[in-house]
């Protein structure tokens, strides 16, 4: 199963490297939204909960773009039938897609977080990084797991571009709450990371639950 997942993943990454459809769009979108926030909020520098909220909401909206595109290649070129004819565990497909989305998110954040620090963040980013990076990674796992599931769910509907944001955004509210609350003290001047354990705990719980659900349930999708 792992081998199958790796093969699918390699194919997806190759396509992404060649066509550059998802990650540049997500990145450009994120930076644009930061600029929008500068104008919309009429602020030069954000800190604390406002900074945390702007960062995470923007990342989530960018993730929606990535999730919508996740099965796009298969949908457009009928590659799903080929995958399904092979005696392959559907879960491998989920694992590949989730891993791909995770990697896209990591690349996105490598650009987006410094951009955020440059355009909108008041306090210094560097001291916050050692704690911020694990938060980002744990949140990405949850996003990737649920994103791959939602993408598959929406893939067979008539309007996946509409269904994906409607499905994904409410589902990630707990993730948003935990990640934003965990990040908030990091982006304040004083850097006291209080309650980090609790929020990371909730984030991890979210990740575990939805990875398990996705694995349990994915076999029933794309079943023809």
């Amino acid at each position: 199963m792992i081998r199958t997942a790796r093969t699918i993943l390699r194919k997806d990454l190759a396509i992404e490297l060649r066509t550059k459809e998802s990650v540049p769009a997500m990145t450009l979108f994120t930076v644009t939204v930061f600029v929008l926030f500068h104008f919309g909020l009429d602020r030069d520098a954000l800190e604390g909960d406002l900074a945390s909220g702007v960062l995470w909401v923007t990342l989530l909206l960018a993730a929606v773009i990535g999730v919508s595109r996740l099965f796009a290649v298969e949908r457009e070129q009928g590659g799903i039938d080929g995958l399904l004819l092979a005696p392959v565990d559907r879960t491998a497909l989920w694992l590949a897609k989730a891993t791909a989305l995770f990697l896209y998110l990591v690349v996105l954040e490598l650009v987006a977080v410094p951009a955020f620090a440059l355009f909108l963040l008041g306090p210094d980013l560097l001291p916050a990084l050692p704690v911020l990076i694990p938060i980002l990674l744990v949140a990405n796992i949850g996003l990737a797991a649920i994103g791959a599931l939602v993408s598959a769910l929406a893939a067979e509907t008539r309007a996946p571009g509409l269904i994906v944001p409607l499905l994904l955004l409410p589902l990630v509210v707990p993730l948003l709450i935990s990640a934003a609350s965990a990040t908030e003290p990091l982006l304040r001047g004083d850097q006291a990371a209080d309650d980090l354990g609790r929020w990371l705990g909730l984030l991890s719980l979210y990740d575990v639950v939805f990875v398990l659900i996705a694995v349990a349930v994915f076999d029933f999708l794309l079943d023809d």
Binding site: T157, R158, I163, L167, I177, L202, F210, A216, V217, L221
Partner: protein, 229 residues
């Protein structure tokens, strides 16, 4: 088949609803802080609890659907979710009325139950476009079940997250919603929950029976029209 036990169930529902109304207005004492307005709590919170239970039940029925492939479980799941959404609308409306009466605003963000419920409600509203944009009945049942399971698991996590968030931003002493309730209020509250739960189950059964009857009729019609042709 779905209508088994419908009569005793309906009778029990009527009895319990009557009993709870009597308890609410003639037995339970007035709340110290909110006065008479607190009576809304006896209809709003049981509705919310039962609606959430309905969503979770929808998820459990969905698990059965995926495990057995029997589409009657999908019907049970769909109707449970459908009923919960309808109850959900009433939850949000009564919650808004309560907010207005108790705190002066039609919506408040520092009631974690209300906020969590809004998120859950928005999520489940997507169930309809998802379900009805899939034409193949077998696939429709499967995809709906997948959604119902993921969303059903989401409900408790969401409540935990929102509750935690509100605890830190708005440290409120939740005096009504479960904190310290005097005995007679508590008993009234539980009777109300039981009454609303029975109401939900009765309505759910009614809906299932009606749906099943329509479907049987359609099948019968098709057979008769084919024979008469």
């Amino acid at each position: 088949m779905y209508s088994k036990g419908l009569k005793p169930l309906s009778i029990a529902t009527v009895v319990l609803m009557g009993a709870s109304l009597a308890l609410v207005f003639f037995y339970a004492p007035n709340d110290a802080d909110q006065g008479f307005v607190q009576k809304i709590f006896y209809v709003h919170v049981p509705l919310a609890i039962v609606a959430l239970g309905g969503f979770v039940a929808g998820g459990i029925f969905a698990i059965q659907n995926l495990r057995t492939g029997d589409r009657s479980w999908d019907a049970r799941s769909y109707v449970a979710i459908h009923m919960s959404i309808i109850f959900g609308v009433v939850v949000l409306i009564t919650g808004s009325i309560w907010a207005r009466a108790a705190w002066g605003h039609w919506w408040v963000w520092d009631e974690p139950v209300l906020v969590s419920f809004l998120v859950v409600f928005l999520l489940y509203c997507v169930y309809y476009p998802l379900r009805f944009s899939i034409e193949d009945p077998d696939r429709q049942a499967r995809y709906s079940s997948v959604f119902a399971i993921a969303a059903g698991a989401f409900v408790p996590i969401n409540f935990a997250a929102v509750r935690m968030a509100e605890a830190f931003t708005h440290p409120r002493v939740l005096s009504q919603t479960g904190g310290s309730m005097p005995g007679d209020m508590r008993m009234t509250f539980f009777v109300c929950i039981a009454a609303v739960a029975l109401l939900f189950i009765t309505m759910w059964k009614l809906e299932l029976t009606a749906k099943n009857a329509s479907m049987q009729l359609k099948r019968l019609r098709r057979r008769l029209e084919a024979e008469a042709a």
